[in-house]
């Protein structure tokens, strides 16, 4: 088993062989991957050393101290957080060898073709069809809310391969080449004026059967792995007190005494307390994960985050008074990462509206907490044993 000292030694060797100051960024990242220091819990030869996941922090800290470049995880979050663990678990050796290295170095960006206009939180209701034609599948349909699709080389895709069985059972999981003919990406302009997401139209796209992950009809199970890893990723790094949006609001308060009112003071203190408690809850979850005892708090963290982001950003617009009436820029932009705090208050207020919708609406998450954490009886299901083709749409 690889331990912390061993990882420190390997990290020092990597830094000696490729001094960050004089090494090209991409060359350094490739060398780091090949040294098994990319994600240490992955297998040897695939960027890892079969080490405990928690030890990644040791490597990251050493590399940061040495001024080494990182792989810009904010820009390639979907690949790192969702595609990679799914490929690792369900991919063939060939797929792993081909896909994981450029995914990790950021040379190839990934997107996720899951959501559809007719299937939002009820993801398994999806209608995009994949029909077998010899060694390939022909895919037709429309996906939506696809971040990074305009930058992506690859996508993870779920499509219906059997409409004759109930909805969860007729789905298969593929890796889609975004440069293939028939893939059309259109920006989807949002409430903020920018186009962070896309609509993706798939028309007669031919995907080789070798790019399938998991068995035919077992795509829902594969997708569960993807979605679970999306949630684990929230565990992440500890954030400091007043990190994130509450820090901006508190800084505004300190900087603009002329705008202060008693009512805004009371509400800010309440939000400060809630943000601090959310931070501590995340920290407690992180400590549980480190001890190998993951708690169910993770399923609730997104709910708390969404509500707080919306309330704090709403408070901020109100606090800024006349300045709150203005907006920085409605120009259509195509950001290549989500930045919740980079722009100004009006942007934050509008962007935060998505926090309770994207990645599962707060209402659906509350149902999941109630049923899976508290064990309350499920909602009555009318679609459970009905073939997908017979469901009302």
């Amino acid at each position: 088993m690889t331990d912390a000292d061993d990882l420190r030694r390997r990290t020092a060797e990597l830094l000696a062989a490729h001094p960050p100051a004089s090494t090209d960024r991409l060359e350094f990242l490739r060398a780091r991957f090949d040294a098994g220091l990319a994600w240490v819990h992955f297998p040897e030869g695939l960027g890892g050393l079969d080490a405990p996941r928690a030890l990644q922090a040791v490597v990251d800290a050493e590399l940061e101290d040495a001024g080494a470049p990182d792989n810009d995880p904010g820009r390639i979050g979907i690949g790192l957080g969702m595609a990679a663990p799914t490929i690792l678990r369900f991919g063939t050796d060939e797929q792993k060898q081909r896909l994981l290295r450029p995914l990790w170095t950021g040379e190839e960006v990934w997107c996720q073709l899951f959501s559809e206009p007719g299937a939002g939180s009820d993801l398994a209701a999806l209608a995009t069809r994949a029909v077998r034609d010899g060694d390939t599948w022909i895919v037709d349909g429309q996906k939506v809310w696809t971040s990074s699709a305009h930058l992506a080389r690859w996508a993870i895709l779920i499509a219906r391969t059997d409409p004759e069985v109930p909805k969860h059972r007729g789905i298969s999981y593929f890796v889609c080449d975004m440069t293939d003919p028939g893939v059309e990406v259109r920006p989807l302009r949002q409430i903020t004026g920018e186009a962070e997401f896309n609509e993706v139209f798939l028309t007669g796209v031919r995907i080789p059967d070798t790019q399938r992950l998991g068995a035919v009809g077992e795509g829902w199970k594969v997708a569960q792995t993807t979605l679970m890893n999306e949630r684990v990723a929230i565990g992440g790094a500890p954030i400091p007190r007043e990190g994130g949006m509450i820090g901006i609001a508190a800084a505004d308060w300190r900087a603009r005494p002329e705008l202060r009112t008693h009512d805004l003071h009371q509400r800010l203190l309440k939000l400060w307390v809630e943000a601090e408690v959310a931070r501590l809850t995340g920290e407690r979850l992180r400590q549980q994960l480190t001890m190998g005892q993951p708690g169910p708090e993770g399923s609730g963290m997104k709910l708390a985050f969404a509500r707080l982001a919306q309330e704090i950003s709403g408070w901020e617009v109100e606090f800024l008074a006349e300045d709150g009436l203005t907006y920085d820029d409605w120009t259509m932009r195509r950001p290549d990462r989500v930045d919740f705090t980079g722009r100004e208050a009006g942007y934050r207020y509008l962007r935060a509206k998505g926090n309770s919708i994207e990645g599962g609406t707060s209402e659906v998450l509350l149902n999941i907490v109630a049923e899976r954490v508290l064990g309350l009886p499920p909602e009555p299901r009318t679609d459970k044993d009905v073939a997908w083709k017979d469901l009302p749409r």
């Binding site: 508190a250 300190r254 003071h265 408690v277 501590l280 920290e283 509350l366 954490v373």
Partner: protein, 387 residues
């Protein structure tokens, strides 16, 4: 920037928010005892008896499990544990709303005495008695007193001979106490006195409390003899430290109250059938319970943080305590209110213990500083100045 205050981000410490194995073992012992002797139905039956507290239960908890001396160092006759362990005891006491003077005697009175010079026999002796559960002690302040200094002047005066005169209202567990620790204005400024509850010139009038499980009394001192424990800043600091520890650990009791309310509500709504379905399968109810679960999980992080800050004597303790109180007090109240509402008609009855938890939660919200008082304190501590 017109304020010279520094954002506190960089100084936030790295607390241990989990439970240790020893803490889990302590919890198991306390829970087993309470399940046997202090379940809510027993508590309810005992309330009719007019006793100041459940002496048998307190004896077992204080001496057999040894919880009374958790905060007292071993060389002074205690267990030498910390606020982290005391917090676990309080979580369990919150879950059973047992009428025992743990918070008042083993936390508030003990911490106040620890703030005095315990090389002196007249401090060490009562401390040992409290640690062994031989005596119940209370800090003679209104239960609503927040840390950070009393809002008004101290209501008891002491003369040069140590004779105390004055009145302190709404003191928790006053009738149960053998030893009163009385903050007073003495000839040399603020002072802390020890007074025997049975001494001449001490009168305890019991009042009917909102929370039946934590009795209140008004104390009147009419020339009662007090033994001087500390004066000046030392006296003030001892009292303030006690209030800070009390407020911080009260968050764990509130967590326990909220936890019981949520668990019972989930259990009831999963079983109770209306309109042909368990009521717990209706989304309107599920969402309320799921939202409450998230608040309880968050309250646990806040309460653990306060306990850890107190245990490690962290400079962040005032912030951690204020955050925990501002957050956990309303969560306990909401949980208890939801418990009554989601139980329907039975939630309004005397037989069902839900009302005990509602009364405890609501009076805990006022105890040792309301959420508003703690937010006010926080404003100064983290540099969010009032207009």
């Amino acid at each position: 920037m017109t304020d010279a205050t520094t954002p506190p981000g960089a100084t936030a410490p790295d607390p241990d928010l989990l439970y240790s194995e020893d803490e889990d073992a302590l919890r198991a012992a306390v829970r087993a005892l309470l399940a046997d002797r202090g379940d809510p139905a027993t508590v309810l039956a005992g309330l009719e008896s007019q006793a100041a507290y459940d002496t048998g239960l307190w004896h077992s908890l204080a001496t057999e499990i040894g919880t009374a001396g958790l905060l007292v160092p071993e060389k002074l006759g205690g267990a030498g544990a910390t606020a982290r362990e005391a917090a676990v005891v309080l979580e369990e006491l919150g879950r059973s709303v047992a009428p025992v003077p743990y918070l008042t005697s083993a936390v508030l009175a003990v911490t106040a005495l620890l703030g005095c010079d315990h090389d002196r026999a007249d401090t060490a002796a009562p401390l040992a008695a409290l640690a062994e559960g031989r005596t119940v002690g209370v800090l003679a302040v209104p239960l609503t007193t927040a840390p950070g200094g009393p809002s008004g002047p101290v209501s008891v005066r002491a003369d040069a001979n140590g004779a105390l005169t004055g009145r302190v209202t709404s003191v928790a567990d006053a009738a149960a106490a053998g030893l009163l620790l009385v903050p007073a204005e003495g000839p040399d400024g603020p002072a802390l006195y020890a007074v025997d509850a049975s001494a001449a010139g001490v009168r305890t009038d019991t009042v009917t409390p909102l929370d039946l499980t934590r009795p209140l009394g008004h104390l009147t001192f009419d020339g009662a003899h007090g033994r001087l424990l500390a004066v000046g800043d030392r006296a003030r600091a001892a009292v303030d430290r006690a209030l800070l520890a009390g407020a911080g650990l009260l968050a764990s009791e509130q967590l326990g109250v909220a936890e019981w309310c949520l668990t019972e509500t989930v259990r009831h709504t999963a079983e109770r059938t209306q309109f042909g379905r368990p009521v717990g399968s209706f989304q309107a109810l599920k969402h309320r319970m799921a939202a409450l679960w998230l608040e309880v999980a968050s309250a646990r992080a806040a309460a653990r943080n306060a306990a850890d800050a107190l245990a490690t004597d962290s400079p962040d303790a005032p912030v951690a305590v204020a955050v925990a109180q501002a957050y956990c007090a309303p969560v306990a109240v909401r949980a208890a209110q939801e418990c009554v509402q989601l139980h329907g008609g039975i939630g309004m009855t005397w037989e069902h213990p839900a009302h005990l938890f509602l009364k405890r939660a609501k009076s805990d919200e006022l105890a040792l500083g309301s959420p508003g008082r703690h937010r006010e304190a926080l404003a100064g501590l983290v540099g969010i100045a009032a207009p």
